[in-house]
Structure formats: C-alpha cells, structure tokens
Symmetry: C3
Subunit: 307 residues, 3 copies
C-alpha cells in the first residue's frame, strides 16, 4: 500500500475527519489517565523536523508520539545540517534512511510538506508550511468545538484578524466548512485576501455584526506586520479589532490558535474568561495528533493519497 | 488533594528534608545499578521549562525523570513561543493543558516559580529563579554532606564568594541551617547582602578564619560582576578570595555548585584535590531530583503547600 | 575491566572491524522490522555531547541508542554550561557523575575524544574531533561497501576533494586500507596533505584516471575554504573536481559522507543516480552505531584499550 500523508485539511472528507475525531476521543481518555501511554507505536520512529520556532506544535507532536510509545527524533534548524546549506530534499532523504514511520514537518515555505511527501516513503504530516496550511490545527479546533457543541452543522464561526498571512485561517475555513459550519472572516481590508469568498465564506471589514457569531476565532497578529504597514499601529488595530469581553456576547465561544499577544488581538480579560477555549484547544492538540499518527501509521487508512 | 510544589527550601521542615534524603539514598542505589531505572512514573509527563542556559541542572532533572520512566518534554526559550513574546502565564497554561505531573522551571526572574505554581495544577519544582532560590541544589548539597559526615548538626560551613547574586547561597544557608549546621558567609563586602545575619549566619570580609570551617562551599563568580564593578578585577578577587589547596586545611571538605571558573573562585589544584566533593554533588543531584519528583508525584506528600 | 573506547579507526584491527560489521548486520535487520527496538541497553545512559552543529551524526547516534532502549541525554554547546566558559574537563567530570555507559563526543578540536577518554570511566566514542578522525563514519562506509561488494580486498577507492581538512578522509583511508582496499586521494594540491602517501595511499592532482576507480568517495567542500583561498572559486573547483554522472563510468559506485553541497562537489544528477549509495550510507550509520554501542557496552570487548 502506498504511503499516506496529511498535507492539507482537504485531504480529508467529512467521514475521514470524523473518524480521526472519534479516535481522538479515545486518546483524550488516555491522556486523562494517570498512565498516559499506549503501546500502539512502540519501536517505531517519528521524526519532528521544525524549521520554525515553535513550542506548542512541536511539543504537542512530540508528546503525542511519546504517548503512543514511539521513538522521537527532533531536528531543529538551529544546530542542524540546514545551517550548513543542505537542501531540504537531501535532509529528507537522509532522515528517510532511518526508516521513520512518519515525518512531521514545519517550514516557512508554502508547499514544503507536499514536496517532502514526494521524497520519502514515510507518512508526512504538515505541521505548518508558510502561509499555506496547518491541518492538525483545524482538526483540533473542530474537535474542541464538536466536544462543546455536539456538532458543527450551521454553527456560525467568525475568524477575526490577519487572515491574509494565516495558514491557520486557511485550514480552519476549509475544515469548519467541511463540517457544516458557516464561516465569516473579518479584519482590516489589507489583511483579508481578495476573492476569499471563493472558499465559501463571507468577508467583513468591521466587527459590527460580530454578535451574530456563535464562535469567535481570533488569529494571532504578527508584530512584523506593523513594520510592513499592513496596519497603521497596534493601538489602532486593537481599537478596531481586538476581542475583549465587552465585544463578546455572553453565549459566544472564544478561540485562538496561540501563542497570544495579550493586549493586541485579545484582551487579557477575554483570554481569562470562561468563554475562552484556549486550554481545551491545546489539550485537544495532543489527542488529535495521537489520532492522526495512529490513523496514518497503525490503522486502516482514512486519508486520501496525496501527490 | 491540592497540588504540592517545591519553590523554596523553606517549604520543607527538617523531617521533610530528611524524608527526601532517605528516599534519595534508595535512588542513589538505583543509579548505581546497571539498569538505572524504576517504573515509578511510567506514563506520566514531566515538563522541563528552562529560560536560562543550563547543562547540569536541566540534564540532571531530565535524567531523573527518565530514570523514573516518565515522559519528558523539554522546552527552552530558544526556538520556543517565548521568542514570539508569549507571556509566562500563557506558556504555563499551554503546557498545563498537557496535564503534566510536574513542571520544572528555571527563570531569570525571582518569584517566577511561585507565580507558576498559581497558574497550573501540576506540581512545580523551582530549578532556579533569578537571585531567589534553587532548592534542589540545597537538597543535593545537604545529601552530599550527610553521606560524608553522618549528619550536619554543629558542622561549620563557610559559603565563600558572591553571596549577593547567588540563589544557591540563599537556599543553602536556609537548608544548612535547618539541618543544624552553623553557617558563615565570606566575600568582598560589595558582594555580601546587608542584614544577611537575619538569616542566622555570620558574615566575614576576609578568609582569615577560614581554618575554623569544616566545609568550604565556594560560589561561582559571574564574570559579568566585573563589568558591573562589584569587584575591581578577577586578579584581585582571586588573590583575596580564591580557594586553593594552600588555603584549605587538610580535613576540610570543598564544595561548589558548578560550573566552575577554574582559576577564578577555585584553583585547579583545589578542584582536583581529594577534598573536593564536586563529582559527588553532581551525582547526588540525580538521586535527589528523583526523590523530589517521587515524593511530589508518587508518594504521600511531605512538602508544605505553597500559595 | 578497564573502560574501552572508539577514538580512532586504528583502535580496531581487521577482525575487530569485521566483528562490528557482523553485529551491524543483525541490527540492520532490527531496523528493518516494524518494531525497531531491542532491550540490550535498557536502563543504561548514553550522553551525546555535540560541540559542533550536526543533524545526521547526532540523530544517528541518538536513534541508535534509543533502538537499543538506552536513555539518551543530549547536550549541545548552545544553551549549555559550555557557554558559561566551563572547561571540557569539568563538563566531562560533571556528565560522568551520571554514570553513563557511554559518552559520544563531537568537538572542533583534534584530540578532544582522546582527552575525554582519560577523564571518564564511561566508554568514549569519537563522533568527529576537528580534522583528526570520525571512526564510525569509516565503519559505516566499510559496511555499506561490504554489503554491495561482498568484501573490499583489492577494491580501488578514490577519495576526492578537500582531503586536507577532512577527518572523514583520514578515518576512511585507514579503514579502507585495513579492509584490503587500494586507496587513492585526488584534489587540488592545496587540499592534499603533504606526505599523505605515508598512510599507504596514492595522491593525484587531477581526475584523469578516475575511470580506474571502483568506488568514488567524494568529500564535502567547506564553503569557508573559499574565503581562506585554498581554492580560487567554487566555479573553478566544480569545473575541475565536481563529480557528475558524466565523470563516472557506469559500474562505479558513488559515496559521500553528507551533508552535500549540491552543485559544488557533486552534481545533482550524480546524487540522484542509481550509482549513489548516500541513502545506504545513512541507513548503515544507525546499524553500525548500534553495533559499536553494543560491542563497547554489552558484549565482550573487541576494541583495544586507548590511553
């Protein structure tokens, strides 16, 4: 059987997403035990290849693999051959010689994970490739909402902030839509991609109708966007788009992929409010990544072949 | 039961210290076996969060956790969300979502570990917070001396060097005192805190009476103190305060928390002499940290609740 | 029994090399299984101490140790006491206090591994010391060739490129010779050490007779050599010494220790050709390092005592 990958949330149809979520439920139960470990991937090797700084995604994948009893090899660009100018292709071929069951890759380049999948017999999991996609983020967010709401059909989700530069926005629009949600993106016009409606969502330049949302999903504002003049200033951005408890209606749920810039895209009171699901999202991350690893490596495949 | 932490050596009374030392004896025996491993924490997660460079403390905690069969996730500030400006609180809440049994934290800020304990249900172990405390260092030093001397009651211990900036000095004064030792601090007046006697120790500006000590505990001299003009020059500091074999009397024991600046606070001959316990201190570190993890996570608690 | 080390390929006679290669065959079989793990070193500690950036060697040793079920502690110079100016001797004495079964060391200084062996009771494995040696590289290359060719007696091997600065060249000349091969080195005269013939090989300044080789072993060209004026330019170097498929005869085997500078010492078509053994070399690395760890730590010793 040919190798299977998770490059884009589009690799999964609704049944595939649901099967991963169901599996993640059972792993969430494992993570709630005192002994948070199952022998499913004992003796198998998972390579974590991170070309960008990351705490939560890299440690989440590392822990997911360890809780499945896999051996994990973590390679970061600092202190690696990457610094010696080795090409990505050569790095992948080197790591593939270890016969890993999976390669988890984060790269600053859109399309990197797809290329990697063409160079290795291992299962490739995209942990973020430039502005392109971050499919396990979408899965963990869908998982978090499904746990809260039962299902996503008809749920109105607003994705607020820097949609233009966000791989999370892209994967989550696709994932939320596939599960039946209605998605609206909102933010400064300079940070909303043209033709975003082609993905099946609405676009808003203001938060005037934010009260219509069931879920407010706030994106991280990259500080460097200020220097690039996409927004006039953090102060002005916060005044118009920051989500505070004052801007939320009581029943709305609040999400953010992290790490948060407190006082920029989110106010401190909002982060710490009971409407915020940020901790549940992180917790879901381990369970969902265990499920993705398990489904790709140990179970009958649910993911469509890529490339 | 509420979570228990080790933030300060003051969290432990004498019986609590002795119980950890007794437990450490049994783990020292494990570390002397060919198979240096027990299943006590199998399937549990220990997070090592180090915001300061460290070889010995971080690898010692890592090894202690692994020898207890825990899964370890190490997060360093380089390559982590910390670089993206995430607050400590948000980092802790993220890591807490992994449901770790313990978070081991080193920070450049005094009080950081105490704050962390208020933000997580995990047991928090302070691995050094600014100039405040380093309680496992005190425990391993007490362990090392108890092994050599049977007990510390009445033992005269001189702590020599930069007491002002040293978290080790602070924790060790408290720990040595609690075990019945008589503590004297000695060093340049600019590097001895005012009112240090309030901790129950004597202060000396010279080493003239060093021969009265049973144990000479030398602190690391931070090079940056030179630039800050706390001492006129390394040469002059060494002339007045460096501990060499010539300055030691034959029966005295020599200790240092490491890493050593050879030729500054310690001469090479002193480091390599049979009076030096530096290797025993490092070895004790693994056993004592295994004991702290075990007592906090697996045994009935001996540590007072903090915060 | 005194500790045994692998500092130089010269520590091994032909029978010793063959015993490691035979053992590596059995571990290559393990690495081909779904569960790539044996309990041989369970509960034992392996320290990886890398003072130079490395992906492949450090991850290969790490994986080898994990597949033998050892606990691995990795120390890199970034973020370690090394940054605080601790001497190598003190670092080794600290790490030795953990009672590791082995210390794997890479250093920028020739002779470092030999010194380390004098400071620790652990088995020391040289993972590259300056321009001196890299014995496990030689072993994995011999392993790769023995698998292909049955044996190396009479095999004509050309080592091409920057021989002067290459620890790989030095270890491989010795290793290939010991196994009966005929070795020729070729490259710009500025990059061939004087008196290299004393090692029992021939030296050539051109590739005119490259067709006589059975195996073409290409060395990495360090970019920094350009700045040091050992070669006039990368373009000129490539024109005279780059190995492309056009320069190879059909039956020749192509090897390179990695990481490759594509388009400098090797053309892309050569790297990707079926004559290239680069992937097999990397794969052999894990099996050979498992064998070295096993022979040093678990089996009756085959390595001569060093120092």
């Amino acid at each position: 059987m040919s190798p299977r990958h998770l490059i884009s949330i589009d690799d999964l149809d609704r049944a595939g997403i649901e099967r991963i979520l169901d599996r993640a439920e059972s792993f969430a139960e494992v993570s709630g035990r005192e002994i948070k470990k199952v022998p499913a991937l004992r003796g198998r090797t998972v390579v974590n290849l991170f070309y960008e700084a990351s705490t939560r995604t890299s440690s989440s994948f590392e822990l997911a693999a360890k809780r499945l009893s896999a051996d994990v090899v973590s390679v970061r660009s600092a202190g690696s051959s990457v610094d010696k100018g080795e090409s990505l292709k050569d790095t992948i071929q080197t790591l593939s010689a270890y016969d890993p069951a999976a390669i988890v890759i984060r790269s600053q380049y859109a399309g990197a994970a797809q290329l990697v999948a063409g160079w290795t017999p291992a299962a490739v999991i995209n942990a973020g490739d430039g502005k392109h996609e971050h499919p396990t983020q979408a899965l963990l967010d869908v998982f978090t909402l499904r746990r809260r709401l039962g299902q996503l059909d008809g749920t109105r989700i607003w994705i607020v902030g820097d949609v233009l530069h966000s791989r999370v926005a892209r994967s989550n629009i696709l994932g939320f839509k596939r599960m039946g949600a209605e998605v609206t993106v909102a933010g400064p016009p300079t940070l909303i991609p043209r033709h975003i409606e082609a993905l099946g969502c609405q676009a808003k330049a203001t938060l005037d109708e934010l009260h219509k949302a069931d879920v407010v999903y706030v994106l991280r504002m990259q500080h460097e966007r200020m220097r690039e003049a996409f927004v006039p200033s953090l102060r002005e951005y916060a005044a118009r788009y920051q989500i505070s408890t004052a801007r939320l209606t009581p029943g709305q749920l609040l999400m953010h992929p992290g790490p948060v810039n407190r006082g920029v895209e989110l106010s401190s009171d909002a982060i710490d409010s009971s409407q915020a699901l940020l901790g549940e999202q992180v917790k879901a991350g381990v369970a969902v990544r265990m499920a993705v690893l398990y489904e790709l490596l140990a179970a009958s495949p649910v993911l469509a072949a890529v490339a």
